[in-house]
Symmetry: none
Subunit: 248 residues, 2 copies
């Protein structure tokens, strides 16, 4: 087996499972540990994966998990403020969950009169502080990880809703691959959310740009607004500016 073939094999494993163990690769590829180590080192040099004691991890896996550190709070507040501009009186809005959405909700103008559907209990509680906002919480199985409701019941209920705007957080966004996710249920959920809103705004801190995960939610064309904490002319956004997408 050629070295290049091995590298490809390793990358496939990584993309599939988000991780590989050195020892597994030794067995699967039938080469010495040293060879695998050298392979991994070379892939690290090419910036394709992340090496740890015992094996290697996918780059996207890595960045998709330390995102929930609420340390990017400033960024999320900035995003929230921008997102508020999209909301007008009388609108029907559908939101997902997550800390970014929560920061957005906290920054809505007090007098706003609108209808909000949400799958996030915490968002619902926050929205309840506004007197003129009607809040409908979409019920179903409750996900311990992402703190939103999910599952068939949620999707059924979503199918009955017609919203003007859908606001969702992101696991990953990529100019070619579009919106992607790691978990099947969340993937299905996001698809359903997209389907019931006229327009969709994606709230996305910059570190989640240019990442593609296993499951595709939608192509980039299905998104109306991309909201990041970056300046409009920041170079990280250039690939997105080329698309038909409003960037805030």
């Amino acid at each position: 087996m050629l070295k290049k073939e091995r590298h490809d094999f390793i990358m496939r494993q990584i993309n599939l499972h988000n991780r590989v163990l050195t020892s597994d690769l030794v067995q699967l590829l039938n080469v010495s540990e040293d060879t695998i180590r050298r392979d991994l080192q070379e892939l690290v040099d090419e910036n394709l994966l992340y090496k740890v004691h015992g094996g290697a991890l996918s780059k996207s896996y890595h960045s998709s998990f330390d995102d929930s550190t609420v340390y990017a709070r400033d960024s999320k507040i900035a995003i929230g403020k921008k997102a508020v501009q999209l909301i007008k009186d009388g609108m029907v809005v559908l939101t997902g969950g997550g800390t970014t959405i929560l920061e957005f909700v906290k920054r809505l103008p007090q007098g706003l009169s609108a209808t909000f559907f949400t799958i996030s209990p915490l968002v619902a509680v926050e929205l309840a502080k506004y007197n003129n906002i009607e809040v409908i919480l979409i019920g179903g199985l409750f996900s311990k990880n992402s703190q939103v409701t999910y599952g068939g019941q949620v999707i059924t209920q979503l199918s009955e809703i017609k919203a003007d705007l859908c606001l969702m957080g992101t696991s990953a966004i990529h100019p070619d691959e579009g919106l992607t996710d790691t978990y099947w249920e969340i993937n299905q959920l996001k698809k359903a959310m997209l389907a019931c809103a006229k327009k969709t705004a994606v709230l996305c801190i910059s570190e989640k740009l240019d990442i593609a995960l296993r499951l595709r939610v939608c192509p980039i064309e299905s998104i109306s607004y991309l909201i990041t904490e970056l300046d409009l002319d920041h170079e990280s956004l250039s690939r997105y500016r080329e698309k038909e997408l409003n960037i805030l």
Copy 2:
């Protein structure tokens, strides 16, 4: 499992639940206590969490609900502890909202394996901290006052549920008038909840005893358990002891 993966897992737990117990992590990750402790120590060194006796806390710890300002909290805790005795493995439980129920949920045993339906987002979030509890949040219009979902949709969904036990807070209870309430919607809601559970437990701080409000939810006979913070032989309860009612 790789160390880095464990660290990510721990951080996810922390960001989700604001806290982790060392003993839980030992079980979940199937490694020795020492390993978990070292993991936590390393995460502390990276400034990612606070370590405390028994586990660790999120750096940005903030409970969605400020415990200390809860009215008559001690009584509610006492009630919560008593209510926990009613819960057994495998049960299907339906709960309402309110601070008393919340104190109850916080005192459930860690390993409990059960299914909980609830109309309260805050209760759902709290329940999500238990790994073996399946949480179903019943969705609908969200009430700004009582912080629970209500309305036709909720009642429809309730009608499809069959629960072993329903736990609800009280506005008022009276030995002759039974359970009563002031608001039509809440009244309807409680009737629907009662209807779908085999047994019902009413959590009630003593000051709400012997009060009757405008709208009747049910006669006292429809209730299986009355849980107050008082001793079993307290004289305020004598009128209730005469009824067919288990008093805790």
